[in-house]
């Protein structure tokens, strides 16, 4: 599963294991890394991606169990700051930055970065902000940049912002400013036994949804 899901997913899986007595092994890594491994023959049964693109890539290889792909989770994108702030509308980011930097995920490759770029473009701010963007390897690193005060502002998922007390949400990007943020889940073509299916069902079940919701994810 995507590494950024760890807190919530661990909780869900632990509950499921206790309930069913099955053992689930969760491998957390970047969505791209996992996708490549599945393509290269990794013995994975479920794939929970943070990126629709990577799920597409796996699907294109015909490695998904037919009809099991669904959007498990959603998320929202927020602008955060190091300095305490009250949530409000998206400000003029370039002006707010001054000579500081805007921390984001890699704008061309990390999903959060891609969404952020799209949002800024639709808000007409991208051109002004682009030279000021510090692209981090992943959302988590972007969050760290803001948390340490290295960058005054950053764009991350609402879930990340919620888990880090050292940052403050300045604004939430409007729904329509970027493509919907989705975490697709699917069983792989390899998955065989009933336990796999059971876990799939558990993840999509109500108990799990409640946990995910508590961690700040939206549920499409």
């Amino acid at each position: 599963a995507a590494a950024s899901l760890r807190n919530a997913l661990d909780e869900v899986v632990a509950g499921w294991e206790a309930e069913t007595g099955h053992d689930a092994v969760v491998s957390y890594a970047g969505s791209g890394v996992l996708a490549r491994q599945i393509i290269a023959g990794a013995p994975a049964d479920l794939y929970l991606s943070a990126s629709e693109q990577w799920m597409d890539a796996v699907e294109a290889e015909g490695l998904l169990a037919e009809g099991t792909r669904c959007d498990l989770l959603g998320n929202t994108l927020v602008l955060i700051s190091h300095e305490p702030a009250e949530p409000g509308p998206v400000p003029d980011i370039a002006a707010a930055l001054g000579d500081g930097r805007l921390a984001m995920g890699l704008v061309d490759s990390v999903p959060a970065g891609q969404y952020g770029k799209a949002a800024l473009e639709s808000l007409g701010q991208w051109a002004a902000v682009e030279p000021l963007v510090a692209q981090a390897d992943n959302v988590r690193a972007a969050l760290a940049l803001v948390a340490t005060g290295e960058a005054p502002l950053g764009i991350v998922y609402a879930t990340d912002a919620a888990a880090e007390p050292a940052v403050h949400v300045v604004a939430t990007f409007p729904e329509g400013s970027h493509a919907p943020i989705r975490y697709p889940l699917a069983l792989t073509a390899e998955s065989a036994d009933a336990a796999d299916r059971a876990l799939y069902d558990a993840l999509t079940g109500d108990a799990a949804r409640a946990i995910f919701a508590r961690h700040g994810f939206s549920l499409p």
Binding site: N7, S27, R36, Q37, A40, R140
Partner: protein, 234 residues
């Protein structure tokens, strides 16, 4: 301290040690051979070999990991053969983590050993030859003991690197707790999660402690070896 780390974390520590140990041990003979070839050999393609050895240093670990995945993965050309012939699977096993660590640490090991070989006075090897010792015997009884400090240094570097390696490992064998989740993978995973810095820090401290022990051990060994060799002069 047992309850200071979760069982899963203990597993990661144990796995890291196992992986680093095996990676170091298994790459030693090859490292020695390659270092010897680079230091003393004269053959076409020497520069190529040299470059190849350095490759894992030059490439981002993810690339190396990806290349390993493509080659040694279950569908990779070599991986498939290994599986078919020996039933030996590397991908997503701790054995794969060993391979990844060994490959990443290889340039460091080779360079250290090579430097040591280059510092051995060939006149001593000549002297051994005039006493009737054939080349391999000379290597085993003269060159090898004299380069022990270099081998030790190489092994330490390789071990340390293996303890810290993660980019190639996670790309090649993923991050499966109890199977391929090494200490650095675990640390990295923690760092991906907001608010888990504490857990990460604990593991970092463990990693440092383990490696420091290894370092101290190696320094002590090196001193013992140096004493054995005594003054350099003969």
């Amino acid at each position: 301290m047992t309850d200071w780390l979760s069982p899963e974390e203990w597993q990661a520590v144990a796995l890291s040690l196992k992986v680093a140990g095996w990676a170091t041990l298994l790459s030693l003979p090859l490292g020695l051979a390659v270092a010897y070839a680079l230091a003393r050999g004269r053959f076409p393609g020497k520069e190529l070999l040299n470059g190849l050895v350095h490759l894992p240093l030059i490439l981002p670990p993810v690339v190396t990991g990806y290349l390993l995945l493509l080659t040694f993965g279950r569908r990779g050309p070599v991986g498939a053969l290994l599986d078919q012939w020996f039933g030996f699977v590397l991908a997503f096993r701790w054995t794969g983590a060993v391979l990844a660590a060994a490959v990443m640490a290889f340039p460091l090991m080779v360079r250290a050993i090579r430097l040591a070989i280059e510092a051995v006075d060939p006149k001593l090897e000549e002297a051994a030859a005039t006493l009737g010792a054939p080349r391999p015997w000379v290597f085993a009884t003269v060159t090898l003991p004299l380069i022990l400090p270099g081998i030790l240094a190489g092994a330490v570097l390789a071990f340390a690197k293996s303890m810290g390696e993660f980019g190639a490992t996670i790309t090649f064998v993923s991050n499966i707790p109890g199977q391929t989740q090494t200490l650095p993978s675990a640390i990295h995973a923690f760092l991906q999660v907001p608010g888990a810095e504490g857990s990460a820090l604990r593991l970092v401290l463990v990693a440092i402690a383990v490696s420091m022990l290894a370092l101290l051990l190696s320094e002590w060994l090196a001193r013992a070896v140096a004493r054995r060799i005594g003054a350099r002069d003969a």
